[in-house]
Amino acid sequence: MFADKVQLFDASDGDVNNISPFDGEQLPDFAFEAYGVRVHLSADNDELLEIGIRTAKKALVGRLKEIECSGRDADHRFSVHRDSNRGYYFRDEGEPTTPTPDETDFCRLLNTMIRIQVAAKAKRYVFIHSGVVAVNGRAIVLPGDSYAGKTRLVAELIRRGAVYFSDEYAVLDEYGKVHPFERNLSMRRDGGHIPYEVEPEDLGAVRGKIPVPAGMLVLTKYEPGSNWKPEQISLGQAILEMVPKAIGVRNNPEFYLTVLNTTFKSATILKSLRSEAAETAERILEAFYKLPVSKDSGCIF
């Protein structure tokens, strides 16, 4: 598990950059595959590598498998470092982050970047920035940007009995199924930027385990004082609205459009502004329970 040579790659053109301060050193490394993406992780020492591996497993909700892969053959490369004066930092395709003395902050940032880079380069999967729950074997997908209140809405839905799938990504496959990405919920206090984790079980929820078809797509945005007045919009409009939330769409737009079409062609699509999450969750579930029961529905955990 040692890298013969750490090679930095210029993210702009993929060429090997030979200015690595670690050139020629034997560094511990680890390679894994997640969602079809081969990631190479190296570190200054075993202790840092363990931190990197632990963070990667958490970032990808355990959905990674160790593989034999050199840095050169990987789809993406991270390296983990600690500077004795400035603290922890990592390199993402050779680009160093700002060091931080706080291991928790460091791990949070590495977690985010591993998750995003895998989502962006995923093969055979589409990642949409979205909250997801499931009811009666069908997914309710709630696309939204950061700070759009996805997690709060998801939390209110699972408090009301929905199965927890994700507060971050809707992971869609080519057959139109929605996969769980059931990391702990990342909540923020009012006005705060730094998240804290909440286990869905603490909200009385269970985590989804198997992929399900989409039953409802809800395009909603928090606006204080607004009323929940859902309108049905067309599939084309809905897909268009999801494009800015589609992490890797630029890498493979044809696949993304096809998968979004396949996934949501039979789903009910609603759009509305919303105010408080609790009331909105009630309205969404009311609308959902009025949908005809799908033959695809089944046990999902």
Binding site: T98, T112, A120, P195, Q237, V243, R250, P253, K265
Partner: protein, 163 residues
């Protein structure tokens, strides 16, 4: 033959996805997605470089089963121009009217839905999708990372979060 009077739909550098009553078009050059409603899509398809506006109107009328005016086709062409979906720009003919005025006039008279093209850009980079975190740390670069993220604070703090 003045080619600008025989509009031709762009075909290269586009990903086209058919959905019921609409067409989604992803422009690989601009990384923008467009949603063409049925009327806009019908006009776009009829722009084969061999048909005049009058002939496009007839063709679209046949496709939609209703009479289509030249003005309605011009309205679609105006939007196709704007979104870069024609091989070359065509000078539109609203006789000095703004698009809004033309819309009003055509909308009242038209038997078919007005052509509409909606567009949105794909995320500029994976950084646009982070959860208010900034890997580049305090300073102009980190601040730019923050400003690229919707709903986050504009300044990158020492804890690598946008504040």
């Amino acid at each position: 033959m003045n080619n600008s009077l025989f509009p031709s739909a762009r075909t290269k550098g586009l990903v086209v996805q058919e959905v019921p009553n609409e067409v989604l078009v992803y422009d690989l050059e601009t990384d923008k997605a467009h949603c063409l409603n049925e009327t806009a899509a019908a006009v776009w398809r009829a722009c084969d470089g061999n048909r005049s506006v009058r002939e496009i109107a007839d063709s679209v009328g046949l496709m939609l089963g209703k009479e289509v005016s030249d003005d309605l086709v011009w309205l679609a062409i105006d939007q196709l121009n704007e979104h870069g979906l024609l091989q070359r720009n065509v000078a539109t003919k609203f006789n000095g009217q703004s698009r809004r005025e033309a819309l009003k006039k055509i909308g009242i008279a038209s038997m078919v839905a007005l052509p509409i093209i909606a567009s949105l850009a794909a995320p500029k980079s994976v950084m646009a999708s982070t959860s208010c975190q900034c890997t580049l740390g305090p300073g102009p670069s980190g601040d730019l990372q923050c400003q690229a993220q919707t709903g986050c604070g504009p300044t990158c703090g020492t804890n690598s979060f946008c504040q």
